[in-house]
Protein backbone atom coordinates (compact mmCIF):
# COMPACT_ATOMS: atom_id res chain seq x y z
CA UNK A 1 0.00 0.00 0.00
CA UNK A 2 1.26 3.47 -0.79
CA UNK A 3 2.49 5.89 1.86
CA UNK A 4 1.38 9.44 1.09
CA UNK A 5 -0.28 12.14 3.21
CA UNK A 6 -3.60 10.47 3.76
CA UNK A 7 -7.05 11.97 3.94
CA UNK A 8 -8.39 8.58 4.95
CA UNK A 9 -7.35 4.99 5.40
CA UNK A 10 -8.58 1.51 6.11
CA UNK A 11 -6.18 -0.77 7.94
CA UNK A 12 -6.72 -4.54 7.74
CA UNK A 13 -10.48 -4.07 7.64
CA UNK A 14 -12.92 -6.96 7.57
CA UNK A 15 -16.65 -6.39 7.24
CA UNK A 16 -19.09 -9.21 7.84
CA UNK A 17 -22.73 -8.83 6.84
CA UNK A 18 -25.30 -11.59 7.32
CA UNK A 19 -22.54 -14.04 8.36
CA UNK A 20 -20.64 -13.42 5.12
CA UNK A 21 -17.28 -11.64 4.91
CA UNK A 22 -17.90 -8.89 2.35
CA UNK A 23 -14.47 -7.29 2.86
CA UNK A 24 -11.47 -9.34 3.99
CA UNK A 25 -8.39 -7.70 5.47
CA UNK A 26 -8.60 -4.60 3.28
CA UNK A 27 -5.91 -1.92 3.67
CA UNK A 28 -6.21 1.25 1.66
CA UNK A 29 -4.77 4.76 1.96
CA UNK A 30 -6.38 7.71 0.21
CA UNK A 31 -4.47 10.93 -0.37
CA UNK A 32 -5.45 13.88 -2.58
CA UNK A 33 -6.45 12.72 -6.05
CA UNK A 34 -8.95 10.51 -7.80
CA UNK A 35 -9.05 6.81 -6.99
CA UNK A 36 -11.23 4.55 -9.09
CA UNK A 37 -12.65 1.37 -7.65
CA UNK A 38 -14.14 -1.25 -9.87
CA UNK A 39 -15.17 -4.84 -9.61
CA UNK A 40 -18.03 -7.16 -10.47
CA UNK A 41 -21.49 -6.78 -8.99
CA UNK A 42 -21.52 -7.94 -5.39
CA UNK A 43 -17.76 -7.62 -5.02
CA UNK A 44 -18.15 -5.28 -2.02
CA UNK A 45 -17.54 -1.85 -3.58
CA UNK A 46 -20.48 -0.23 -1.82
CA UNK A 47 -19.51 -1.88 1.47
CA UNK A 48 -15.97 -0.54 1.15
CA UNK A 49 -17.29 2.99 0.62
CA UNK A 50 -19.71 2.58 3.53
CA UNK A 51 -16.87 1.31 5.72
CA UNK A 52 -14.91 4.47 4.94
CA UNK A 53 -18.02 6.55 5.63
CA UNK A 54 -18.47 4.89 9.02
CA UNK A 55 -21.76 3.31 7.95
CA UNK A 56 -20.62 -0.32 7.88
CA UNK A 57 -19.61 -2.00 11.14
CA UNK A 58 -16.04 -3.26 11.12
CA UNK A 59 -15.60 -6.81 12.35
CA UNK A 60 -11.85 -6.21 12.42
CA UNK A 61 -9.39 -3.45 11.57
CA UNK A 62 -9.35 0.31 11.83
CA UNK A 63 -10.78 3.23 9.90
CA UNK A 64 -9.24 6.66 9.96
CA UNK A 65 -10.57 9.82 8.32
CA UNK A 66 -9.02 13.25 8.79
CA UNK A 67 -10.61 16.67 8.39
CA UNK A 68 -14.15 15.75 9.37
CA UNK A 69 -16.66 13.16 8.25
CA UNK A 70 -16.50 12.35 4.55
CA UNK A 71 -19.01 13.35 1.94
CA UNK A 72 -20.63 10.06 0.97
CA UNK A 73 -23.06 9.95 -1.94
CA UNK A 74 -24.48 6.48 -2.33
CA UNK A 75 -26.46 4.62 -4.96
CA UNK A 76 -29.56 6.58 -4.02
CA UNK A 77 -29.78 10.37 -3.67
CA UNK A 78 -29.91 10.36 0.18
CA UNK A 79 -32.20 13.40 0.20
CA UNK A 80 -35.30 13.63 2.40
CA UNK A 81 -38.66 13.61 0.65
CA UNK A 82 -40.93 16.45 1.70
CA UNK A 83 -38.04 18.89 1.51
CA UNK A 84 -36.86 20.72 -1.59
CA UNK A 85 -33.43 20.16 -3.10
CA UNK A 86 -32.34 23.53 -1.74
CA UNK A 87 -33.61 22.73 1.78
CA UNK A 88 -31.91 19.34 1.76
CA UNK A 89 -28.53 20.72 0.73
CA UNK A 90 -28.80 23.70 3.08
CA UNK A 91 -29.57 21.35 6.00
CA UNK A 92 -26.60 19.10 5.30
CA UNK A 93 -24.20 22.02 4.87
CA UNK A 94 -25.51 23.69 8.02
CA UNK A 95 -25.11 20.47 10.02
CA UNK A 96 -21.43 20.45 9.09
CA UNK A 97 -21.24 24.03 10.30
CA UNK A 98 -20.57 25.29 6.80
CA UNK A 99 -23.61 27.56 6.57
CA UNK A 100 -25.95 27.47 3.61
CA UNK A 101 -23.23 29.01 1.41
CA UNK A 102 -24.10 29.12 -2.23
CA UNK A 103 -26.49 26.19 -2.32
CA UNK A 104 -28.66 27.92 -4.91
CA UNK A 105 -25.61 28.63 -7.09
CA UNK A 106 -24.49 24.99 -6.90
CA UNK A 107 -27.95 23.72 -7.85
CA UNK A 108 -28.14 26.21 -10.70
CA UNK A 109 -24.78 24.98 -11.96
CA UNK A 110 -26.25 21.47 -12.03
CA UNK A 111 -29.17 22.70 -14.17
CA UNK A 112 -31.73 22.75 -11.37
CA UNK A 113 -32.60 26.47 -11.34
CA UNK A 114 -36.28 25.78 -11.95
CA UNK A 115 -36.46 22.69 -9.75
CA UNK A 116 -34.50 23.61 -6.64
CA UNK A 117 -37.61 24.74 -4.73
CA UNK A 118 -39.77 21.78 -5.65
CA UNK A 119 -40.12 18.87 -3.21
CA UNK A 120 -37.45 16.32 -4.00
CA UNK A 121 -39.97 13.53 -4.63
CA UNK A 122 -41.39 15.48 -7.57
CA UNK A 123 -38.07 15.51 -9.40
CA UNK A 124 -37.02 12.84 -11.87
CA UNK A 125 -34.40 10.25 -10.93
CA UNK A 126 -31.78 12.15 -12.94
CA UNK A 127 -32.67 15.47 -11.31
CA UNK A 128 -32.45 13.92 -7.84
CA UNK A 129 -29.07 12.50 -8.74
CA UNK A 130 -27.93 15.95 -9.92
CA UNK A 131 -29.15 17.50 -6.66
CA UNK A 132 -27.23 14.95 -4.60
CA UNK A 133 -24.06 15.45 -6.65
CA UNK A 134 -24.30 19.22 -6.16
CA UNK A 135 -23.22 18.42 -2.59
CA UNK A 136 -19.68 18.01 -3.94
CA UNK A 137 -19.70 21.79 -4.26
CA UNK A 138 -21.64 22.70 -1.10
CA UNK A 139 -19.80 20.33 1.29
CA UNK A 140 -16.14 20.50 0.37
CA UNK A 141 -14.85 17.73 2.60
CA UNK A 142 -11.29 16.32 2.35
CA UNK A 143 -12.71 12.89 1.49
CA UNK A 144 -15.43 12.41 -1.15
CA UNK A 145 -16.95 8.95 -1.64
CA UNK A 146 -19.05 8.45 -4.76
CA UNK A 147 -20.93 5.23 -5.45
CA UNK A 148 -21.83 4.82 -9.12
CA UNK A 149 -22.29 8.56 -9.62
CA UNK A 150 -22.91 8.19 -13.36
CA UNK A 151 -26.21 6.38 -12.86
CA UNK A 152 -29.26 8.28 -14.18
CA UNK A 153 -27.11 11.12 -15.58
CA UNK A 154 -27.50 12.52 -19.08
CA UNK A 155 -24.56 13.77 -21.14
CA UNK A 156 -24.79 17.35 -19.81
CA UNK A 157 -24.69 16.10 -16.25
CA UNK A 158 -21.74 13.84 -17.05
CA UNK A 159 -19.80 16.91 -18.20
CA UNK A 160 -20.81 18.71 -15.01
CA UNK A 161 -19.71 15.76 -12.86
CA UNK A 162 -16.30 15.65 -14.51
CA UNK A 163 -15.92 19.38 -13.92
CA UNK A 164 -16.96 19.05 -10.27
CA UNK A 165 -14.48 16.22 -9.70
CA UNK A 166 -11.68 18.12 -11.41
CA UNK A 167 -12.38 21.14 -9.21
CA UNK A 168 -12.32 18.90 -6.13
CA UNK A 169 -8.97 17.48 -7.22
CA UNK A 170 -7.54 20.99 -7.70
CA UNK A 171 -8.69 21.77 -4.15
CA UNK A 172 -6.69 18.78 -2.88
CA UNK A 173 -9.62 16.58 -1.97
CA UNK A 174 -9.41 12.81 -2.09
CA UNK A 175 -12.12 11.35 -4.29
CA UNK A 176 -12.88 7.63 -4.22
CA UNK A 177 -15.33 6.53 -6.87
CA UNK A 178 -16.86 3.09 -7.25
CA UNK A 179 -17.95 2.76 -10.83
CA UNK A 180 -18.34 0.43 -13.76
CA UNK A 181 -17.85 3.39 -16.13
CA UNK A 182 -14.19 3.83 -15.18
CA UNK A 183 -13.23 4.82 -18.73
CA UNK A 184 -15.08 8.13 -18.22
CA UNK A 185 -12.44 9.33 -15.76
CA UNK A 186 -9.61 6.88 -16.24
CA UNK A 187 -7.20 9.51 -17.53
CA UNK A 188 -7.75 11.68 -14.43
CA UNK A 189 -7.30 8.86 -11.92
CA UNK A 190 -4.19 8.69 -9.77
CA UNK A 191 -4.92 5.17 -8.55
CA UNK A 192 -7.10 2.32 -9.75
CA UNK A 193 -8.20 -0.64 -7.69
CA UNK A 194 -10.15 -3.76 -8.40
CA UNK A 195 -12.22 -5.33 -5.66
CA UNK A 196 -13.16 -8.93 -6.20
CA UNK A 197 -14.67 -11.32 -3.69
CA UNK A 198 -13.79 -9.02 -0.81
CA UNK A 199 -10.10 -8.65 -1.74
CA UNK A 200 -8.50 -5.47 -3.10
CA UNK A 201 -5.65 -5.13 -5.58
CA UNK A 202 -4.16 -2.12 -7.32
CA UNK A 203 -4.01 -2.19 -11.12
Amino acid sequence: MRRVPENASLNDVTVVLDDRAILRGISLGLGPGLTLLRGPNGAGKTTLLRALAGLAPLARGRRSVSGGPPLYIGHRPMLLSGLTARENLAFLAAFRGLGAGDVAGALRAWGLAAEMDRPIERLSAGQRRRASLARIETERMPLVLLDEPFADLDSDALVRLRAAINTALVRGQAVLMATHMHHELDQDATHRYVLDDGALREV
Partner: protein
Protein backbone atom coordinates in the same frame (compact mmCIF):
# COMPACT_ATOMS: atom_id res chain seq x y z
CA UNK B 1 -22.47 23.95 16.26
CA UNK B 2 -23.26 22.19 19.55
CA UNK B 3 -25.35 19.07 20.15
CA UNK B 4 -28.51 21.04 20.94
CA UNK B 5 -28.18 23.10 17.75
CA UNK B 6 -27.78 19.92 15.72
CA UNK B 7 -30.83 18.33 17.36
CA UNK B 8 -32.90 21.45 16.69
CA UNK B 9 -31.70 21.45 13.09
CA UNK B 10 -32.92 17.86 12.65
CA UNK B 11 -36.22 18.74 14.38
CA UNK B 12 -36.73 21.71 12.04
CA UNK B 13 -35.96 19.49 9.04
CA UNK B 14 -38.47 16.92 10.28
CA UNK B 15 -41.21 19.49 10.89
CA UNK B 16 -40.62 21.10 7.48
CA UNK B 17 -40.98 17.71 5.77
CA UNK B 18 -44.07 16.86 7.86
CA UNK B 19 -45.61 20.25 7.02
CA UNK B 20 -45.19 19.66 3.31
CA UNK B 21 -46.16 15.96 3.41
CA UNK B 22 -48.26 15.57 6.58
CA UNK B 23 -48.83 11.83 6.12
CA UNK B 24 -47.97 10.92 9.71
CA UNK B 25 -49.90 13.82 11.19
CA UNK B 26 -53.05 13.16 9.14
CA UNK B 27 -52.95 9.42 9.89
CA UNK B 28 -52.49 10.04 13.61
CA UNK B 29 -55.18 12.71 13.75
CA UNK B 30 -57.70 10.59 11.85
CA UNK B 31 -56.98 7.50 13.91
CA UNK B 32 -57.21 9.37 17.21
CA UNK B 33 -60.43 11.20 16.27
CA UNK B 34 -62.06 7.97 15.11
CA UNK B 35 -61.08 6.16 18.28
CA UNK B 36 -62.48 8.92 20.50
CA UNK B 37 -65.68 8.96 18.43
CA UNK B 38 -66.09 5.19 18.53
CA UNK B 39 -65.40 5.15 22.24
CA UNK B 40 -68.20 7.62 22.91
CA UNK B 41 -70.57 5.50 20.81
CA UNK B 42 -69.48 2.07 22.05
CA UNK B 43 -69.47 2.83 25.76
CA UNK B 44 -72.46 5.13 25.72
CA UNK B 45 -72.34 8.60 27.27
CA UNK B 46 -72.64 7.46 30.90
CA UNK B 47 -69.74 5.03 30.99
CA UNK B 48 -67.49 6.88 28.55
CA UNK B 49 -67.64 10.01 30.73
CA UNK B 50 -66.10 8.23 33.70
CA UNK B 51 -62.68 9.87 34.21
CA UNK B 52 -60.78 6.58 34.35
CA UNK B 53 -62.34 5.22 31.16
CA UNK B 54 -62.10 8.49 29.20
CA UNK B 55 -58.46 8.99 30.22
CA UNK B 56 -57.41 5.43 29.45
CA UNK B 57 -58.93 5.39 25.98
CA UNK B 58 -57.60 8.87 25.22
CA UNK B 59 -54.02 7.90 26.13
CA UNK B 60 -54.21 4.57 24.30
CA UNK B 61 -55.20 6.53 21.21
CA UNK B 62 -52.29 8.96 21.75
CA UNK B 63 -49.88 6.04 22.17
CA UNK B 64 -50.92 4.56 18.82
CA UNK B 65 -50.79 8.02 17.27
CA UNK B 66 -47.20 8.45 18.46
CA UNK B 67 -46.28 5.12 16.86
CA UNK B 68 -47.91 6.16 13.59
CA UNK B 69 -46.08 9.49 13.49
CA UNK B 70 -42.72 7.88 14.31
CA UNK B 71 -43.17 5.08 11.77
CA UNK B 72 -44.04 7.52 8.99
CA UNK B 73 -41.14 9.75 9.95
CA UNK B 74 -38.63 6.91 9.61
CA UNK B 75 -40.29 5.60 6.43
CA UNK B 76 -39.44 8.98 4.94
CA UNK B 77 -35.84 8.69 6.17
CA UNK B 78 -35.44 5.27 4.55
CA UNK B 79 -36.79 6.40 1.17
CA UNK B 80 -33.73 7.16 -0.93
CA UNK B 81 -31.49 6.45 2.12
CA UNK B 82 -31.85 10.02 3.41
CA UNK B 83 -30.96 8.80 6.90
CA UNK B 84 -27.44 7.79 5.79
CA UNK B 85 -26.63 11.41 4.94
CA UNK B 86 -27.23 12.26 8.62
CA UNK B 87 -25.68 9.14 10.16
CA UNK B 88 -22.36 9.79 8.44
CA UNK B 89 -22.01 13.21 10.11
CA UNK B 90 -20.27 13.87 13.44
CA UNK B 91 -22.96 13.79 16.11
CA UNK B 92 -25.49 12.75 13.47
CA UNK B 93 -26.85 9.75 15.38
CA UNK B 94 -27.50 11.64 18.61
CA UNK B 95 -28.96 14.58 16.67
CA UNK B 96 -31.22 12.26 14.71
CA UNK B 97 -32.54 10.70 17.91
CA UNK B 98 -33.01 13.95 19.81
CA UNK B 99 -34.35 15.84 16.78
CA UNK B 100 -36.90 13.13 16.06
CA UNK B 101 -38.02 13.07 19.71
CA UNK B 102 -38.52 16.85 19.68
CA UNK B 103 -40.32 16.92 16.32
CA UNK B 104 -42.56 13.94 17.10
CA UNK B 105 -43.46 15.45 20.48
CA UNK B 106 -44.52 18.67 18.72
CA UNK B 107 -46.64 16.82 16.15
CA UNK B 108 -48.09 14.65 18.91
CA UNK B 109 -48.97 17.74 20.96
CA UNK B 110 -51.13 19.05 18.12
CA UNK B 111 -52.81 15.66 17.69
CA UNK B 112 -53.35 15.38 21.45
CA UNK B 113 -54.87 18.86 21.63
CA UNK B 114 -57.31 18.09 18.82
CA UNK B 115 -58.22 14.76 20.41
CA UNK B 116 -58.73 16.47 23.79
CA UNK B 117 -61.08 19.06 22.29
CA UNK B 118 -63.03 16.29 20.57
CA UNK B 119 -63.20 14.27 23.80
CA UNK B 120 -64.51 17.22 25.77
CA UNK B 121 -67.13 18.03 23.10
CA UNK B 122 -68.33 14.47 22.54
CA UNK B 123 -68.20 13.27 26.14
CA UNK B 124 -69.04 16.57 27.82
CA UNK B 125 -66.26 15.98 30.35
CA UNK B 126 -65.95 18.17 33.40
CA UNK B 127 -62.45 19.25 34.48
CA UNK B 128 -61.77 19.98 38.12
CA UNK B 129 -58.09 20.93 37.74
CA UNK B 130 -57.38 22.28 34.24
CA UNK B 131 -53.80 23.31 35.00
CA UNK B 132 -52.94 19.89 36.39
CA UNK B 133 -54.54 18.24 33.37
CA UNK B 134 -52.39 20.34 31.02
CA UNK B 135 -49.29 19.47 33.06
CA UNK B 136 -50.03 15.73 32.87
CA UNK B 137 -50.78 16.09 29.15
CA UNK B 138 -47.53 17.91 28.38
CA UNK B 139 -45.40 15.49 30.40
CA UNK B 140 -47.22 12.50 28.90
CA UNK B 141 -46.44 13.76 25.42
CA UNK B 142 -42.80 14.22 26.41
CA UNK B 143 -42.60 10.74 27.97
CA UNK B 144 -43.78 8.70 24.97
CA UNK B 145 -41.48 9.71 22.03
CA UNK B 146 -38.11 8.90 23.69
CA UNK B 147 -39.06 5.21 23.92
CA UNK B 148 -40.85 4.97 20.58
CA UNK B 149 -38.04 6.70 18.66
CA UNK B 150 -35.41 4.56 20.41
CA UNK B 151 -37.19 1.31 19.55
CA UNK B 152 -37.88 2.48 15.98
CA UNK B 153 -34.19 3.26 15.48
CA UNK B 154 -33.13 -0.09 16.90
CA UNK B 155 -35.57 -1.88 14.57
CA UNK B 156 -34.76 0.34 11.62
CA UNK B 157 -33.49 -2.30 9.21
CA UNK B 158 -35.91 -5.00 10.31
CA UNK B 159 -38.49 -5.90 7.67
CA UNK B 160 -41.34 -6.32 10.17
CA UNK B 161 -40.60 -2.94 11.76
CA UNK B 162 -44.21 -1.72 11.61
CA UNK B 163 -45.35 -4.65 13.77
CA UNK B 164 -42.20 -4.86 15.85
CA UNK B 165 -42.16 -1.27 17.13
CA UNK B 166 -45.47 -1.51 19.03
CA UNK B 167 -44.69 -5.05 20.20
CA UNK B 168 -41.36 -3.94 21.69
CA UNK B 169 -42.22 -0.44 22.85
CA UNK B 170 -45.68 -0.86 24.36
CA UNK B 171 -44.55 -3.11 27.24
CA UNK B 172 -41.82 -0.58 28.06
CA UNK B 173 -44.42 2.19 27.88
CA UNK B 174 -46.92 0.54 30.25
CA UNK B 175 -45.75 2.54 33.31
CA UNK B 176 -46.00 5.77 31.30
CA UNK B 177 -49.45 4.79 30.05
CA UNK B 178 -50.62 4.08 33.60
CA UNK B 179 -49.15 7.39 34.81
CA UNK B 180 -50.82 9.33 31.98
CA UNK B 181 -54.19 7.67 32.61
CA UNK B 182 -54.13 7.96 36.39
CA UNK B 183 -52.74 11.49 36.29
CA UNK B 184 -55.38 12.70 33.84
CA UNK B 185 -58.16 10.97 35.79
CA UNK B 186 -56.92 12.59 39.00
CA UNK B 187 -56.92 16.02 37.33
CA UNK B 188 -60.44 15.47 36.03
CA UNK B 189 -61.74 14.48 39.47
CA UNK B 190 -59.85 17.15 41.42
CA UNK B 191 -57.17 15.08 43.19
CA UNK B 192 -54.29 17.56 42.94
CA UNK B 193 -51.67 15.61 44.87
CA UNK B 194 -52.26 12.43 42.86
CA UNK B 195 -52.12 14.38 39.59
CA UNK B 196 -48.83 15.99 40.59
CA UNK B 197 -47.42 12.65 41.74
CA UNK B 198 -48.20 11.01 38.40
CA UNK B 199 -46.84 14.08 36.58
CA UNK B 200 -43.57 13.69 38.49
CA UNK B 201 -43.35 10.05 37.44
CA UNK B 202 -43.90 11.05 33.80
CA UNK B 203 -41.15 13.69 34.02
CA UNK B 204 -38.77 11.08 35.45
CA UNK B 205 -39.58 8.60 32.68
CA UNK B 206 -39.11 11.26 29.99
CA UNK B 207 -35.71 12.18 31.44
CA UNK B 208 -34.49 8.62 32.01
CA UNK B 209 -35.45 7.33 28.57
CA UNK B 210 -34.21 10.50 26.88
CA UNK B 211 -30.75 10.05 28.43
CA UNK B 212 -30.85 6.31 27.78
CA UNK B 213 -31.68 6.89 24.13
CA UNK B 214 -28.86 9.39 23.68
CA UNK B 215 -26.48 6.89 25.28
CA UNK B 216 -27.56 3.80 23.34
CA UNK B 217 -28.31 5.21 19.90
CA UNK B 218 -24.80 6.16 18.71
CA UNK B 219 -23.55 2.60 19.14
CA UNK B 220 -26.75 0.80 18.26
CA UNK B 221 -27.75 2.17 14.86
CA UNK B 222 -26.54 0.28 11.80
Amino acid sequence: MNALDRALLVAARELAAERRRPDGFVAALTFTALLVLMESLAFGPGQARQPGVASALYWIAILFAATLVATRSFDRELEDDAIDAVLVLDGGREALYAGKVIAIAIVLAIVALAAAVLSFVLLDLGVALAGHLVLVGVLGILALPPVIVLVTLLALRVRARVALVPILSFPILMPQLVACTQGAAAALTGDASAALGWAGILAAFALVYGVLGLTIVPAAIE
